[in-house]
């Protein structure tokens, strides 16, 4: 019998990376090119609002685990979802086409190590699933700043089997050289590749003698916890006032607001809004959905620290009610 690698077990690829590093964009392109073959995709969102499922449509199956991070609070939900996938696969005839691959896209706040440990420690999953690779996506624009201040960013890099640098086309070559040297220092074993909007490109030529960024010891640092907040904008959102408010927020609190994402209704259609720290991606117009679709339109997730969630909505309301 022709057994795939992993003695008939399903292979699991964990896709990790910090908030807004480009995990979904990268995964979307891999699925589009069918790099994983027949694949079941699990997406974890730290917030209760799934946004990423709107982007991933090329898999055999897609399940969103929202309402907690699977490396800590929602770990049992992940184990249950993986067991379901194993059951469904075992119920099919092994001579036919079966799903041999699972991709887990973690939330930007997840440390991949406890996830991998939880799967290896589960008495059932260990016979059905082999963790084949941990791919960590690294944002070439923001990673140096994150590595300086975020212990989690460092843990993610250290856990990776493979690192994929994104946004290299817009990154400064000097900084890119420092980042690559820093990544090699943190995780010398992981090969580093580059991608732009998910398509692989050659790693740009950088100074081979670039020094790694000195990383301060964060062991005793007192950092406020990062938390997701949901802003319910509704269907009749005043997009212009919202844009004024968000631009002011990112200007003033760009170091605290780590990630903003959501779908907003505007006169031009449904806009997918995404921001990482102070950088707002050019909004993408999404196709209209049927009556049952678009259920999360008008909800914006703001992930960050150092403020009260209630203050966000009060302040936004003040801006949208402004009448000159």
């Amino acid at each position: 019998m022709n057994q795939p690698a992993g003695e008939g077990r399903m292979r699991l690829t964990v896709v990790g990376g910090y908030l807004g590093s480009g995990k979904t964009t990268w995964l979307r392109h891999q699925l589009f090119e069918r790099r994983f073959g027949r694949v079941q995709v699990l997406v974890n969102e730290a917030a209760e609002t799934p946004v990423d499922d709107a982007l991933l449509g090329q898999a055999e199956g897609l399940r969103v685990l929202s309402g907690g991070c699977v490396c800590c609070t929602a770990r049992s939900e992940l184990i249950a979802a993986l067991r379901d996938l194993c059951d469904a696969r075992s119920a099919r005839d092994s001579r036919g086409a079966r799903d041999e691959q699972i991709v887990l896209e973690t939330s930007g706040l997840a440390d991949p190590a406890p996830i991998v440990e939880a799967i290896r420690a589960d008495p059932m999953l260990v016979y059905h699933i082999v963790v084949s690779e941990v791919v960590v996506i690294v944002d070439a624009l923001h990673a140096l700043a994150q590595l300086r201040s975020e212990p989690l960013g460092r843990k993610q890099i250290e856990t990776a089997d493979r690192l994929v640098l994104t946004k290299v086309d817009v990154a400064d070559p000097g900084k890119l050289g420092r980042l690559i040297a820093t990544l090699r220092q943190l995780n010398p074993a992981a090969p580093i590749s580059a991608a732009v909007l998910g398509s692989p490109i050659d790693l740009p030529a950088v100074d081979p003698d670039a020094m790694p960024e000195p990383l301060p010891d964060l062991a005793g640092a007192d950092m406020a916890p990062v938390f997701p907040a949901r802003l319910m904008l509704g269907d009749d959102i005043d997009w212009t006032a919202f844009a004024v408010w968000l631009s002011a927020l990112l200007h003033a609190r760009g170091d605290d607001v780590l990630r903003v994402k959501g779908v907003v209704r505007t006169p031009a259609g449904r806009l997918l809004l995404q921001a990482v720290r102070r950088v707002v991606q050019s909004p993408e117009i999404l196709p209209e959905q049927g009556p049952e679709g678009g259920r999360e339109d008008g909800t914006i997730v703001v992930i960050g620290r150092g403020y009260e969630a209630a203050d966000l909505s009060t302040s936004l309301r003040r801006f949208t009610r402004a009448d000159g």
Binding site: W239, T240, L249, T266, A268, L271
Partner: protein, 101 residues
């Protein structure tokens, strides 16, 4: 781009993504001016976008004036004119509305 003043230098800012048609875009500019005017008033700054001259005009009550290309440029300029940090999570925007701005 205007061939005389070279403005705007770059294609639309993300905050201008919501309008596809010229009337939508003009309406959005008026609304943007209105919101900015209301928000910046408490900092002693007036904002104006009449839809004719490109850019957003900021002025202080003492007469200093500046024109900025988009919303992203408004905040650092307004902070410079006002001499204080402008933060939408400042108590003036987050306390109950009955207490006023």
């Amino acid at each position: 781009m205007c061939s005389i003043c070279g403005f705007p230098a770059s294609p639309g800012h993300w905050t201008e993504a919501g309008g596809n048609t010229a009337p939508d875009r003009l309406r959005a500019r008026f609304r943007r001016g209105q919101v900015l005017k209301s928000v910046l008033r408490s900092y002693g700054i007036t904002a104006h976008d009449g839809g004719v001259i490109p850019g957003i005009q900021l002025a202080t009550f003492s007469g200093a004036q500046v024109i900025v290309p988009d919303l992203e440029a408004v905040w650092p300029e307004a902070e410079r004119l006002a001499g204080v940090v402008i933060d939408p999570l400042d108590p003036r925007f987050t306390r109950p509305e009955s207490e006023g701005v």
